[in-house]
């Protein structure tokens, strides 16, 4: 192998690691939020809309206030409101959570486009990153290890959720609600309230994921920002079989797949550029086919998650 080829492979490799870290964060936040919501027995398909609204809110608030972290908080609160709206609508009799989710997906995106028009041009202060690649001389390693604090928060959150589902009263209550509504009611658990809290918290996380999109990577606000990442994250929860730590792995995998196209282009491989850019979508399809129908996945489905209810 000649040195040029091996250095190109190395470049692609580091770009994919960097990509996994950079691109995965919104996936991670949305899928953790969805994981929490689904564990309580509801599907919130509206997280795509929440992600976009979060991105817009974060950018707008960061621009207006000059503090990107204030933007992150505002994005979370916007997401929390959308999540609470979803849960409230679903508590009405004969309301289907999937239909409400689709409506809120469109509502959230529409709201973001409506209020986001004036913020497409200006530049807002962005989130800074922590250079964890200081120990290496290689610029590739250094650039791959520019890590955003939100990514670290996300990892911590995944582990915390995983631990919390087993070791806290709240975790047990959420799992009970998601597994058997009748049992939960018999135990005196306020099912509607638990789902409201879980869906609102899920929305908060998705909103924060949106803030990452507009304030760090790609780092600007425009209408094509999300390109369906919120929906893919929902699919990813099924692939991760409702386990927060597996959500983390899955998000990293999706992130790496998303970085494939740009990094190949960077080393001069332009053939099949669009094909490689579509890698995360193709991966979504393949994973859905491979895992959703698998019998193992069926066993881990929270009992209350039914499409027809």
């Amino acid at each position: 192998m000649d040195p040029a080829t091996s250095s190109a492979i190395l470049t692609v490799f580091f770009a994919m690691i960097g990509g996994a870290i950079r691109v995965s964060t919104p996936f991670l936040f949305v899928s953790l939020g969805e994981c929490l919501t689904e564990r309580s027995g509801r599907i919130n398909l509206g997280l795509e809309g929440t992600l976009v609204l979060g991105a817009m809110t974060a950018y707008a608030i960061s621009y207006q206030s000059g503090s990107p972290w204030l933007g992150v908080g505002a994005a979370g609160i916007a997401g929390l409101c959308l999540g609470a709206l979803h849960a409230t609508l679903c508590r009405l009799p004969k309301v289907n959570d999937i239909a409400v989710g689709i409506a809120l997906m469109i509502f959230g995106t529409g709201l973001a486009f409506f209020f986001g028009k004036p913020y497409i041009q200006p530049t807002a202060p962005r989130l800074s990153s922590i250079p964890l690649g200081w120990w290496s001389d290689s610029p590739q390693v250094q650039s791959a290890l520019q890590i955003n604090p939100l990514f670290i928060v996300g990892i911590g959150l995944a582990v915390l959720l995983w631990w919390g589902f087993r070791n806290t009263r709240w975790g047990l209550i959420v799992r009970t609600t998601g597994d058997s509504e009748d049992t939960a009611r018999a135990l005196g658990i306020p099912v509607g309230l638990v789902r409201l809290a879980a869906t609102a918290a899920g929305g908060f996380l998705a909103g924060v994921g949106g803030a990452f999109l507009s304030l760090y990577y790609p780092g600007s606000w425009n209408e094509g920002l999300s390109s369906g990442q919120g929906l893919m994250a929902v699919a990813l929860v099924i692939f991760a079989r409702w386990n927060p730590v597996r959500c983390l792995y899955a998000a990293l995998l999706f992130g790496a797949a998303g970085a494939l196209g740009p990094s190949l282009q960077a080393v001069g491989i332009t053939q099949g550029y669009y094909f490689f850019n579509a890698a995360p979508y193709i991966l979504t399809l393949l994973l859905m086919i491979g895992s959703a129908g698998s019998k193992k996945a069926l066993r881990d489905v929270p009992g209350e998650l039914m499409v027809t209810r």
């Binding site: 087993r166 070791n167 806290t168 009263r169 709240w170 047990l172 209550i173 799992r175 009970t176 597994d179 058997s180 009748d182 049992t183 939960a184 018999a186 135990l187 005196g188 019998k295 069926l298 066993r299 929270p302 009992g303």
Partner: protein, 518 residues
């Protein structure tokens, strides 16, 4: 009185049972008097049985005790003190707990997690090390135990039942209402659990009120018994002093029962239906039934006994075409048989699946349409092979409604509006009114009252006498002992035992049902 009860520290003195008195309770739903001036006294530490047919008011009574219904009149006394119970939480605070037929357990949680969640006042962050030590200390005082780390979904029914009872004790509930606690257990498991409950009552730790319809259990375990009929107190007494005949008489009053048709003696009849090496899977890929071999002769009832969940429903679903085969074949009159509409008609194969409203009718269609589900595509109902003629359809319905005494306001009433017994009669009318070659029956009498049960069993026996091959899958062993010529036992998805009924007995069948093979 709204705080949840919390478990006592492990080293405390075992708490004492509480007594309950129900005084002149009445409850109406609209014009229906569900309970009419019912009084029961259950002293602390006793084991009281509550008998009655469906609709006799047993569940209304316990729901009033548990606070699901508010009685119109009458009162409850706990240990002699008047109490007011407006919701299940208050019942729990008063020390009253109930074990339901469908367990209140979370399938994906382990036993330990289920106990923890049931407490309701557990710590926000669970220190499993300390909690497990406390659970172990609690279990040490109990006469039985369950595996703490197994998810409930993987437990056998008997273990779930034990866990439910342990949960009540863990919550410090000292008056337990058991709703048909043995309906999903093997005879062995049932005796074990009721024996343990009995032991707890004699130790003075709990008081038990058990809803049941099994006279044997009343006589073997209960101290005293109360019988309800049509919402009223029909009689009571010490269990040891009441004979089964006396209890039956109290339960059914003087309703005349349809006499059971005599059993004709058939011999050397041909094989009408054969199940050859059939295996099938559950939707999660695990094996449901494995290598089932069974021959049904014309004019014979083969009873399939077994505790529910040992593959019987899968077998019925395979035979009725609701579940695909993994291996094996089905043969009707020696020919390969696939459960298609054409093949069913050709071989005259009919069925009475369990839960008829769900499995054998289209709930929102009318009684007439449901009765015509087998015949709507044949003359005289179908003309020109495509036109459904309403006249003959309604005529057929009217005739069968009269013959099978289906109580329905009209032929056009949706079948879902009928009572359970009348839904089953509608299915009987459709399935049994023609010429029946093979009949596949699953739990035909589940949830029906005495009179309907006798009538449905007579119909099944009548089909046998007319030469039909009948496969009777039933969780009620008494039903099989009454009807079957031959009995097969299913356990763990296999047929583990086949015998002529004359050559076996309840204890042997019970042993095979429990999975013991000798």
């Amino acid at each position: 009185m709204s705080a949840g009860a919390s478990p006592r520290p492990a080293n405390a003195v075992p708490p004492r049972a509480i007594g309950l008195q129900v005084a002149h309770l009445s409850k109406s739903f609209g014009s229906l008097k569900a309970l009419d001036d019912v009084s029961i006294e259950v002293p602390a530490g006793s084991f009281h049985a509550l008998l009655g047919e469906n609709g006799a008011g047993k569940s209304t009574l316990v729901k009033c005790i548990m606070g699901y219904h508010r009685p119109d009149k009458g009162q409850l006394l706990v240990d002699g003190r008047k109490v007011r119970i407006d919701n299940p939480r208050e019942a729990r605070a008063a020390g009253i707990g109930m074990v339901y037929q469908n367990f209140i357990l979370v399938p994906s949680l382990t036993a330990a997690e289920n106990l923890m969640i049931a407490r309701g006042d557990g710590p926000a962050i669970i220190n499993w090390g300390r909690e497990r030590a406390q659970l172990a200390a609690f279990l040490d005082r109990m006469p039985f135990r369950v595996p703490l780390d197994t998810p409930v979904a993987l437990m056998a029914a008997g273990e779930k039942q034990k866990l439910e009872i342990l949960k009540q004790l863990y919550l410090d509930l000292r008056f337990l209402i058991l709703d048909e606690p043995t309906s999903v257990l093997t005879p062995g498991e049932a005796d074990e659990i009721l024996g343990l409950v009995r032991e707890l009552t004699t130790r003075g730790e709990i008081t038990v009120l058990m809803i049941t319809h099994k006279f044997r259990e009343v006589q073997a375990f209960a101290d005293s018994v109360t019988v309800l009929r049509r919402g009223r107190f029909a009689g009571s007494g010490r269990a040891s002093e009441l004979s089964v005949e006396a209890m039956v008489k109290l339960m059914i009053g003087d309703t005349p029962l349809q006499a059971r048709s005599a059993r004709l003696d058939h011999s050397d009849m041909p094989v009408a239906f054969e199940i050859a090496g059939v295996s099938a899977d559950n939707s999660d890929g695990s094996s449901a039934i494995e290598a089932i071999d069974l021959k049904l002769h014309a004019g014979e009832i083969v009873g399939i006994a077994g505790v529910s969940g040992n593959g019987q429903s899968a077998l019925v679903e395979v035979l009725t075409g609701q579940r695909p085969l993994r291996a094996g074949r089905l043969l009707a009159q020696g020919q390969d048989y696939l459960p298609t509409r054409a093949a069913m008609a050709r071989h005259r194969i009919f069925g009475l699946p369990e839960e008829p409203l769900k499995n054998a009718t289209v709930a929102k269609m009318s009684v007439a349409e449901n009765i015509a589900l087998r015949t709507f595509d044949k003359p005289p109902i179908a003309a020109l092979k495509w036109w459904l003629r309403p006249g003959p359809l309604r005529r057929q319905a009217r005739e069968l409604i009269a013959r099978y005494r289906i109580k329905t306001p009209s032929t056009e009433t949706p079948v879902a509006n009928l009572s359970g017994g009348n839904v089953q009669r509608t299915v009987l009318a459709r399935e049994l009114s023609g010429d029946v070659g093979v009949l596949i029956v699953a739990n035909p009498c589940a949830g029906l009252d005495f009179a309907s049960v006798a009538e449905i069993r007579a119909q099944i026996m009548d089909q046998r006498n007319r030469g039909a091959a009948v496969l009777l899958v039933s969780e009620d062993l008494d039903e099989i002992l009454e009807l079957a010529d031959r009995v097969a036992v299913m356990s763990g998805g296999r047929i583990t035992y086949v015998a002529q009924l004359a050559e076996t007995d309840r204890a042997t069948i019970g042993n095979y049902m429990a999975g013991h093979t000798h």
